[in-house]
């Protein structure tokens, strides 16, 4: 994947953060209607540095700081979208999107429908999500299922720098509102759940080769991250690497599907795989009950019932707030995933 599909051949190793910044840079350059804003994203460049340097390059009215008001940020973005801009906004942590719920659900997601297409909300809402950084319950959440239940929204979560940039560009160009979740634990390197091992930087990973220019990774398309024959693993974000580690450590030939777009979903890739393996494990970091894994399990049994040889397993965060000190007992690490693979194969 070091080469660019769109013919742009210059690639550089990038972290997720650099790739995301590059996506915004490319789009700010290409489209005068793209604007970037959020808490601390202007002068300072974002608490995770994703927008560093962009204000200097594109000026204060294209990239700017906002008041600490997630509802205001999204509400203003909806109005700008109605005008004709393409706002790309940052919610500092996914845990803080709640004050924007009404603007996301009742406004952005429904605007095209309720106005029969007169007004649209082509906005991209970036938010770092997930745990593994000792952030405690308000810096660790993965609220994707609260978005996938809302019709009219697209929900996307990349797992590597190449996809991060390509999916973010695709999201910015998309005319629907997109919730763009960034698993912050892998901002600087793929993380396989072994928190006691030294961090691996992105530069060691092939998907960190990122074209410098414009390209997209299409929405609604999953990637087979690791082909395999024994069991289908449906996952996304950080859990792709945890699932891979579990395959390595358990010796089980798992086919790991990185969903990338959570909703709308690439169901075909999923169904083809499960029909092949007959077994399915869903892995996500969010709490279990009514998590996105529930929808995946429901869909798989609907579409592959007669191919399934074992119950679909779900490996997820527990149904508790994300604790600070017990982080690794909470995090669904490789051991728990391996155990699920084994259970799926037991019968």
């Amino acid at each position: 994947m070091g080469a660019d599909k769109n013919g742009n051949s210059r690639s550089t190793p990038m972290t997720m953060i650099q790739a995301l910044r590059s996506a915004m840079d490319v789009m700010l350059e290409r489209d005068a209607n793209v604007v970037v804003f959020g808490e601390d994203v202007g002068y300072f460049g974002g608490v995770f540095r994703c927008t560093e340097g962009l204000q200097q390059k594109y000026g204060k009215s294209r990239v700017f700081d906002t008041p600490i008001s997630e509802g205001g940020i999204v509400g203003a973005a909806v109005g700008m979208g109605a005008y004709g801009l393409r706002p790309v906004v940052e919610i500092q942590f996914a845990d803080y999107f709640y004050p924007a719920s009404d603007q996301i659900v009742s406004e952005a997601a429904r605007l095209r429908y309720r106005s029969a297409g007169e007004f649209i909300a082509p906005i991209t809402i970036r938010m770092p999500c997930g745990g593994g950084i000792y952030g405690g319950q308000t810096h660790s959440q993965s609220p994707e299922a609260l978005f996938t239940h809302v019709c009219g929204l697209r929900t996307v979560m990349p797992s590597n720098p190449y996809d991060a940039k390509g999916l973010l560009i695709a999201s910015i160009e998309n005319d629907d509102p997109v919730i763009f979740l960034e698993p912050k634990r892998i901002y600087n390197g793929p993380f396989d759940g072994h928190h006691d091992k030294p961090m691996v930087p992105w530069s060691k990973h092939p998907f960190s080769e990122v074209p410098e220019g414009y390209y997209t990774v299409p929405l609604e398309s999953a990637a087979v991250y690791r082909p395999g024959a024994a069991v289908t693993v449906l996952t996304y974000g950080t859990m792709v690497y945890v699932s891979e580690a579990a395959a390595r450590e358990s010796g089980i030939d798992a086919e790991i599907i990185d969903l990338r777009s959570l909703w709308p979903l690439d169901l075909e890739t999923i169904v083809n795989s499960v029909k092949k393996t007959g077994r399915c494990v869903v892995v996500h970091e969010a709490t279990r009950t009514s998590g996105f894994g529930a929808e995946l399990a429901a869909l798989v049994q609907e579409h592959c019932f007669y191919h399934l040889e074992a119950p679909i397993e779900r490996v997820t965060g527990w149904d508790t707030p994300y604790p600070h000190a017990q982080e690794w007992a909470y995090f669904p690490g490789p051991d728990r995933v391996s155990a699920a693979y084994r259970r799926a194969l037991e019968t």
Binding site: G79, Y83, Q103
Partner: protein, 410 residues
């Protein structure tokens, strides 16, 4: 000041309940013509006393007084008069249609017609309003085709919104009328965002956001004030204080002992409190605010003092919670009657012309209604297809919606 006295909870009450007469002195009216008119480029703090006074132009005899009396051609005022009358007739007819079960739900703007009408005349083409469900007068002033509106109300096959929205939740982009949300208060911060976008692009268009007294309690109103102030957005924030929010009096929304305009000043926004039943005052204040916004001088908040003369909606019965004849005693009167008196006073209108206009508008509306009804209604099942229900959720219909549409067999 003994500390041993127990605390008690204060619950605001209106000054009149069914069977009583409301004491309207809480409104603190200023006489017509008395309030100063600061320069358009004044500092927000200079409007502090305007937020507690009441800008009025028309006195009890229909004379236009004081510094706020606007420069406006009589022809424009007559157009405004027609639009107000049209709004009232429209509302009255649609109420009847609702009672006849031709339309499923309705909300009138009875008593508030001056506000949207004069405001629309004070804006320019291309400016965008982000209205609530009680600004049909904006549409009348902008001469939106009546048939389209009535088809929306009938939810029929020609409803431009494809039957998706409750009646009155219009969306008329070409008339600068943003899609109405059923969730209160969301649209004002959107108006601010729209205005910010106009400023980002170096455009000359401004936005105008609308909210009721009751809905100002919603947190989104705060977002609108904060963003409008911080970015000096070219926007007018209109608070229509019609004294009621369904069954709750404006004091329950925070109007007791202060005004909604005062909120604006506190947030660093120039703010006016205006007689919303005085067409000329509405026009003048709207012009002032629009000029300010368009000249890069920032936002203005205007509290329009008026009265919701009718029920909240066709689901409501206000005689349960307020005196049945309350409007008759409301000191700011009827906006149509007041403008009529003024126009006749300056020789630009007559009883005869009024009657003729009334008849002509009745006829125009009857014709429009007839045509719209010929396209069916929700009641008779002539609605947009079930298949259309799956469209516009996304720009392109994803696989799962195609599957669901198929499952429905449409």
């Amino acid at each position: 000041m003994s500390h041993d006295e127990p605390l008690r909870l204060h619950i605001p009450e209106p000054t009149g309940r069914p069977g009583q007469h409301t004491d309207f002195s809480y409104l603190h009216l200023s006489p017509a013509g008395e309030v100063q008119r600061p320069a358009v480029d004044c500092q927000p703090a200079e409007t502090s006393d305007l937020a507690f006074a009441l800008i009025r132009v028309l006195d009890d005899d229909g004379r236009a007084l004081g510094p706020w009396a606007p420069q406006i051609a009589p022809e424009r005022v007559r157009a405004g008069m027609r639009a107000m009358m049209k709004t009232r007739i429209f509302d009255a007819r649609m109420m009847i249609a609702q009672r006849q079960k031709k339309i499923s739900f309705y909300m009138t703007s009875l008593g508030e017609e001056a506000i949207g009408t004069a405001h629309a005349l004070a804006l320019e083409e291309g400016d965008m309003c982000f209205p609530t469900y009680r600004q049909e007068s904006l549409l009348m002033a902008r001469e939106v085709p009546l048939v389209d509106l009535i088809c929306q109300l009938l939810s029929n096959e020609r409803d431009p919104l494809k039957g998706r929205q409750l009646p009155v939740m219009y969306s008329v982009r070409k008339a600068g009328f943003f899609s109405i949300s059923g969730n209160l208060a969301t649209q004002v911060i959107q108006a601010v965002g729209w205005g910010m976008a106009s400023a980002i692009k170096g455009d000359t268009k401004i936005a105008s956001g609308w909210i009721g007294d009751g809905a100002t309690a919603e947190a989104d109103f705060h977002n609108a004030l904060v963003f409008a102030h911080v970015y000096q957005a070219p926007v007018i924030i209109n608070v229509v204080n019609n004294q009621w929010a369904i069954s709750t009096f404006q004091a329950i929304a925070g109007g007791e002992g202060t005004t909604f305009a005062a909120r604006g000043v506190g947030s660093g926004i120039a703010s006016l409190r205006v007689d919303g039943n005085d067409f000329l005052a509405v026009y003048a204040a709207s012009r002032w605010a629009a000029e300010r916004a368009r000249s890069n001088l920032g936002p203005t908040l205007i509290e329009w003092v008026t009265y919701r003369a009718g029920a909240h909606s066709t689901s409501d019965d206000p005689s349960k919670y307020r005196p049945a004849d309350d409007w008759a005693h409301f000191p700011l009167g009827d906006p149509i009657a007041r403008l009529k008196q003024h126009l006749i006073g300056i020789g630009a209108w007559s009883e005869k012309e009024h009657e003729d206009t009334q008849k002509q508008l009745e006829a125009e509306l009857a014709a429009a209604q007839k045509e719209a009804e010929s396209y069916g209604s929700l009641a008779d099942g002539h609605v947009h297809s079930a298949a259309s229900m799956f469209e516009d959720v996304y720009k392109d219909m994803p696989e799962h919606l195609r599957r669901q549409r198929q499952q429905l067999g449409v």
